[in-house]
Amino acid sequence: MSELLKTKNLTCKRSEKIIINNLNFAIPQGKNVEVIGSNGSGKTTLLRALLGLVPETEGEILWHGKNIKQVENNFYKSCFYQGHKLGIKKSLTVLENLKHPNFPLISKKEKLYSAAKKVGISDLMHRVSSNLSVGQIKRIALARLLICDFDLYLIDEPFTALDNEGTDLIQSIIAELNNRGSSFLVTGHRESELISDKIYLGDTDE
Amino acid sequence: MGSSPSIFRFISTIFPWLFFFSILFLMGSLFWGLFLAPTDYKQGDAYRIIFIHVPSAILGQSGYIFMAVFGFICLVWRVKVAGMIVRSIAPVGASFTLLALVSGSIWGKPTWGTWWVWDARLTSTLILFFLYIAIISLFSVIESKQKADRAGSILALVGVAIIPIIKKSVDWWQTLHQSSTFSLSSSPSMTADMYLPLLSCVLAFYLIFLVIVLSRMKLEIVQRERSTNWVKDFYS
């Protein structure tokens, strides 16, 4: 099985304080990895470090066996990142938020509607997003997962602010995208029912 | 490329010597300029302000250039000490620019009959002072020291690119609204017994500038590294 992403001795610092120390892990193609840790254990930092958003990062990150600095463009265009901040514009409608996500979209309009239908916001398409609840906003973000094909999805705490139904929804979306051959790296406070490898952050060094 | 402890020790060793030497040198140069140099036949004795005014104006400008140079080093090679130097220069350069403005204004009263004219040089010096103020306020607002160093460096670099443009545009603007006939550049051509003390004063100002910047750097290093062992060892 080929490895999509692999880290070698990944160390991240913030203002010279070590947050992640010598982490080694690999994300196999079509499989999922879950990062588990309490608040402040460096889950978000790990995700952002993989994307090169943390300047004080040491160690190697390999994409298809090559250092990501050499295949930067290829890597960025195959990755989908969703952080705590979802990048959803409150003054746009749901449809517009799907039509103009945070990356250029090459997707047909029918696909947007079917994605919206899958996450259960199809009857809200022309509502302005500022009138929606947190859970509904989160669903717009989920619909964005479905409208484009990426190799790797890096998602920060997808399970927070969602009810049981929403949690099931994410699991089905992840399963569907796994079938297409995509991989997931998700974070969370505790273990989910996701079939995945687990990485435990924070408690290991104490 | 020295690290903070070695730079700190270096500053601490040379500082007392440099301090006393530059104070003596400054006093000597000022004495030469204010008492020994001959009286100017056109302006009388008021011209002696030049021995303070010109050096402080020169330092106000070269201080900014130093800041931009070290800002560049801080941004491109991420040298932390360069950021500290930028931060240490800013208030010193600002006070020398202010000194140039105030002394020029006091000089203007007996020679031009007014405290202030909207002359090209005065205006561009005033804007230089505002640029210093902008950088200082950026330093004071951003809590994280290294972040602030780099933000200040960016502004110093952008500012240094714009200074020649300011000078040039201010020159044009002045020719447009031509009303004043004053010009600093028409000062009498100098004889050696006026020129040499002026040169000596400029050198003395450079030295005292260096002394102040070094003392500020020492403070910066201690502030940032107050929790490290080598600082504790140094002071206990």
């Binding site: 958003l53 943390v54 265009k77 514009k89 | 607002v141």
Partner: protein, 226 residues
Amino acid sequence: MNNRSNLTQWMLLILKKDLLLSYRRAATYMTPLIFFLIVVTLFPLALGPDKSLLSTLSPAIIWVTALLASLLAVESIFQEDYRDGTLDYFFISGEPIFILIFIKVLGHWMVTGVPLLIAALLSSLILFMSKDIIISLFISLFLGSFSLSLLGALGGALSLGRSAILSAIIVLPLSVPILLLGSATVFSAINYSDYSVYLFYMGAILSLAIPGLSLATVEAIKLNYE
């Protein structure tokens, strides 16, 4: 995979989205516009209705007011995108970021600078400016307001998440040459002398500012990611 995006698509996305956003929120383009018109009308009230005095002062009034109005808009350039995480995606686009930032500033100028141009033309009538100099006012404002937007972007990026006064302190001294050259253009047009040299220098400043300030702005934004 089939969704490889390129630079042109990114540029179009940013421009389209920003224009759509400001179309939805009229405040983004209306606030500087209304501010401009109100301040310009304050001058005749303070100076008195003297026609010749107003027309003499009009280039200065319009330029200073345009400068202040463009400062008003500085805050909004990156603030929202930074807060809701949209800026993150610029850095993981795999495209040259300073071009994306430049497009962002271009979009910002289209919704704040262009309305100012129209307002300036309107207020040149209120201030009894003669018709033949309006063209010099228009060209100088066109070049100048774009440079001011680029400067404002740097100010907004450096003061991201901080007070608006800070960005004003940063931007104002740097914008002096634009103000001087801009009003000099109009003043020399009033005196029937050749003003092309000022426009030439304003164009030179703009063409230096486009790459230089875009790069500086990227560096300034990066500071917030540490």
